[in-house]
């Protein structure tokens, strides 16, 4: 026994130092990301030439210098084909550039780990902005990503003399996410959130496909309910999906009050009251009203994405609260004759009142890791601008990515390629006095009270919507928790 104990002690004495050295070392490249190639992580393999024929005239970058860009790609509802096409077209134009793509539906886990490790060589050069919680906001505030604000002033590659900021949809720059006044991602495509429905079903039943006032919308809900169908379905397991049609309405209400600018500033800065602001309380009064009308399905808390979206496709629900990626995501299950329609919830009392549509960046925007060789970052920015060309935008439209350029529809062929769901969003925006806006915040809190607030909110959405719980005390409680978090961070 003594001898065995001695053997084991000897073994530990031998192994422990090794373990400490290995565990404490900086670590090499991640197991699921390719090792950084020399071209990407160190001095270029061939020095750039001063000869003008060795540079591309449109951007002054070297033709001979080989560059590899590592992309941590988020494989989401839009799929991967659009990214592969963009890479193919870009590398055909610039053969000295190549990409190494690591893609996954949960790339955020890998991104989060690599960000925490802060190993610049190991980190992707560019990433899709997919993060766990507010990790992205935190990383941007820490200055871990490249400032891309200068891209707004660059000419788009397919229209000489036209700057990016002048060719995107109205209010894109104003409402795109900024951190401390800087852009760390440029919207390559827009996604829109709201209520998607089957036009065929609506036409068959004679339902209003474009209610322009709150009262018209409530009438639509009762009409649908009278046919024993679910008016609005959403995945209750991820209850915040319900808010896709509603969160941006705060801006709509603030604009009607004449306080939009101040509201936007306070909202982005997460100033209190946030959850118990008059605007947000009013949203919840309206949602509760819909709940009383039976707008939401029984047992909604048990539904996941697939189940709720299948309810829409199978004609059991009239509308689904989701995003315009839904068509691409469910493309293998869409029945014949299904025609995609879109609406958002009108909060106004008059048909001429402006209706806000929630949109955001996420359909392929990218962020560039700051501590990378300059040549890699320059080429990454070139690629970012390349994604803004109408040809690429048109191809992306086949996979549900709404275009970000306002001149996109000048060429009718571009619209033909756009999937029906995002096309329905553009049609709705055209047929209504509409405004795109985003409900992202520029501030986040790490204190446990913030996590608790988010959990309480998510746990309460289904019950508040169905009328089982009164929203007001919960909204007050949420702000108390946010205040705790905010005060703790100030200490």
């Amino acid at each position: 026994m003594k001898k065995t104990a001695k053997s084991v002690a000897g073994l530990m004495a031998a192994v422990l130092p090794m373990a400490a050295v290995i565990g404490c070392s900086g670590g090499g490249s991640g197991s699921s990301s390719p090792s950084p190639t020399k071209a990407a992580s160190s001095a270029p393999s061939s020095a750039p030439s001063d000869n003008k024929s060795d540079v591309y005239p449109e951007n002054g970058l070297s033709k001979t210098e080989k560059v590899t860009i590592k992309w941590g790609y988020w494989e989401n509802g839009y799929g991967r084909e659009w990214a592969d096409n963009a890479i193919k077209k870009f590398t055909e134009k610039y053969p000295n550039v190549k990409f190494e793509v690591t893609s996954s539906p949960v790339i955020r886990d890998l991104i989060g780990t690599k960000m925490a490790a802060k190993n610049d060589n190991d980190m992707f050069d560019i990433i899709s902005p997919s993060f766990n919680g507010d990790a992205g906001t935190i990383a941007q505030k820490e200055g871990l990503f490249e400032d891309l604000s200068d891209l707004w002033e660059r000419e788009v590659p397919d229209k000489k003399g036209v700057k990016l900021k002048d060719v995107v949809l109205p209010n894109t720059m104003e409402y795109a996410q900024k951190i401390d006044g800087k852009f760390y991602q440029i919207p390559m495509g827009a996604y829109a959130l709201g209520l998607f429905y089957d036009k065929t079903l609506f036409e068959k039943n004679g339902w209003n496909q474009n209610p322009k006032t709150w009262d018209e919308f409530k009438k639509l809900i009762t009409d649908i309910k009278s046919k024993n169908l679910i008016p609005i379905t959403y995945p209750g397991v991820y209850s915040t999906y319900l808010m896709y049609g509603f969160t941006v309405k705060q801006f709509e209400l603030a604009e009607r009050k004449g306080t939009l600018d101040q509201f936007t500033k306070d909202y982005r800065a997460y100033k209190l009251p946030a959850f118990s602001s008059p605007e947000f309380k009013q949203i919840w009064e309206r949602i509760a009203e819909l709940g009383k009308l039976g707008a939401f399905p029984d047992g909604v808390a048990a539904l996941n994405h697939t189940q709720s979206q299948m309810q829409l496709l199978q004609g059991k629900a009239a509308m689904a609260s989701t995003g315009d990626w839904v068509e691409n995501e469910m493309k293998d299950s869409i029945p014949d004759g299904f025609k995609w329609g879109f609406m958002t919830v009108p909060f106004g009392g008059s048909p001429s009142d402006k209706i806000w549509i929630e949109n955001g960046i996420g359909a392929g925007s990218m962020m560039i890791w700051k501590n990378k060789p300059e040549n890699v970052k320059k080429w990454a920015k070139e690629f970012n601008m390349f994604l803004m060309t109408n040809d690429i935008q048109a191809f992306n439209g086949k996979f549900g990515i709404s275009p970000i350029r306002k001149d996109f529809s000048e060429n009718p062929k571009n619209l033909e390629q756009l999937q029906a769901a995002p096309r329905a969003v553009l049609e709705y925006a055209k047929n209504n006095n509409s405004q795109f806006g985003t409900s992202v915040r520029e501030v986040s809190f790490s204190h446990p009270s913030s996590g608790k607030a988010n959990k309480l909110y998510q746990d309460s959405i289904n019950d508040m919507a169905s009328g089982k719980k009164d929203p007001n005390p919960i909204l007050e409680e949420l702000d108390k928790l946010i205040k705790e978090a905010s005060d703790a961070e100030k200490k």
Binding site: M18, I138, N304, S460
Partner: protein, 328 residues
């Protein structure tokens, strides 16, 4: 480097031969020393890699977690040492206590039912001599072979309101379910998790208990049968006492699993509806890696608390379960 002397050739009449193990080439003391060295090398090679893995991937991260639990850290910004603040906050966090309450319900029901069903089925398969017992063994063990994601998704469909097998089964008996979503109601969601946990765990314990029962001499049963003992009497008077150590260890694993496990809940309900299926593991996971929270320090503090709970649970089981080992 000089190799152990046991492999050097020794001169023997008629040519060279390699030294044989046990051959005294340098006196008995030297041989014993050589054997000790060989034994230590063998131990090192045999368990070194696994031990290294344990140190790197289990012990080291756990020790680091103790340190993280004293920090306010989101994994990206610089961490801030806050001492015991995370623990103080945790003890006041009602979500922690609600989650533990759910764990307690699972801890009381899942181990007892799993062991009860496993022992019963193992006894039947062992003693009844069914011709198709091999088929039953495979059938009962099948859920253990399935990935947890598959098990969770399978049961999500069973519990579905519109297309679920459970509702269809109940309606066969005339029970109107009105498309009830078993995972969508706070009254039924947690109880709906129980059959899944038991179903996915029973198979393994049937195999364990069957092997334990095979070790019981048949003569004991024969004597009992001659004395007129019934099946139930044989089960409770012979089988259970003799496999008690195995049952105790199984109960320990199941109780610890009831506290630790959360994958099933994460996939089936994500802690809903309204937090009615949230357990301490899923709460900790969401605090660290959730879509709306990123606090490694607080999550580590919850992890440490969970560790203490599991140690206490183990000590209670050791204290209150029968330690007697009956020899035959």
């Amino acid at each position: 480097m000089r190799l152990p002397s046991c492999i050097y050739p020794v001169r023997v009449k008629g040519g060279h031969h390699m030294a044989q193990p046990g051959v005294n080439t340098a006196g008995s003391g030297g041989l014993l020393r050589k054997n000790k060295v060989q034994k230590r090398i063998f131990i090192f090679i045999a368990i070194g890699p696994s031990f290294l893995g344990y140190l790197l991937f289990t012990l080291y991260p756990n020790i680091l977690s103790v340190y993280y639990s004293l920090l306010e850290w989101n994994g990206i910004s610089a961490s801030k040492f806050i001492g015991l603040d995370n623990y103080i906050y945790m003890f006041k966090d009602n979500f922690v206590w609600t989650s533990l309450y759910h764990n307690l319900i699972l801890m009381i029901t899942v181990p007892i039912l799993t062991i009860y069903i496993s022992v019963f089925l193992a006894y039947l398969l062992n003693n009844k001599g069914y011709l198709e017992s091999s088929f039953y063994k495979v059938l009962f063990f099948l859920p253990n072979v399935l990935a947890i994601v598959v098990v969770a998704l399978l049961w999500r469909f069973i519990y579905d309101g519109e297309y679920g097998m459970l509702n269809a089964f109940l309606e066969l008996f005339g029970i109107e379910t009105n498309n009830f979503y078993w995972l969508g109601d706070t009254r039924t969601a947690l109880w709906a998790i129980l059959p899944v946990s038991i179903w996915s765990g029973v198979g393994l314990y049937i195999i364990i208990f069957m092997n334990a029962m095979k070790g019981i001499p048949v003569s004991l049963y024969e004597s009992a049968i001659l004395d007129g003992a019934t099946h139930m009497q044989r089960l409770f008077k012979i089988t259970m006492p003799l496999i008690n150590p195995v049952i105790r260890v199984s109960a320990l694993f199941l109780v610890l699993g009831a506290f630790k496990g959360f994958e099933l809940i994460l996939i089936m309900t994500n802690g809903g509806p309204s937090g009615s299926t949230e357990v301490i593991g899923s709460y900790m996971f969401n605090m660290a890696f959730g879509t709306s929270s990123h606090n490694y320090g607080y999550a580590s503090a919850i992890g440490m608390f969970l560790f203490v709970i599991m140690v206490v649970a183990k000590l209670i089981i050791d204290k209150f379960s029968k330690q007697d080992q009956i020899e035959f």
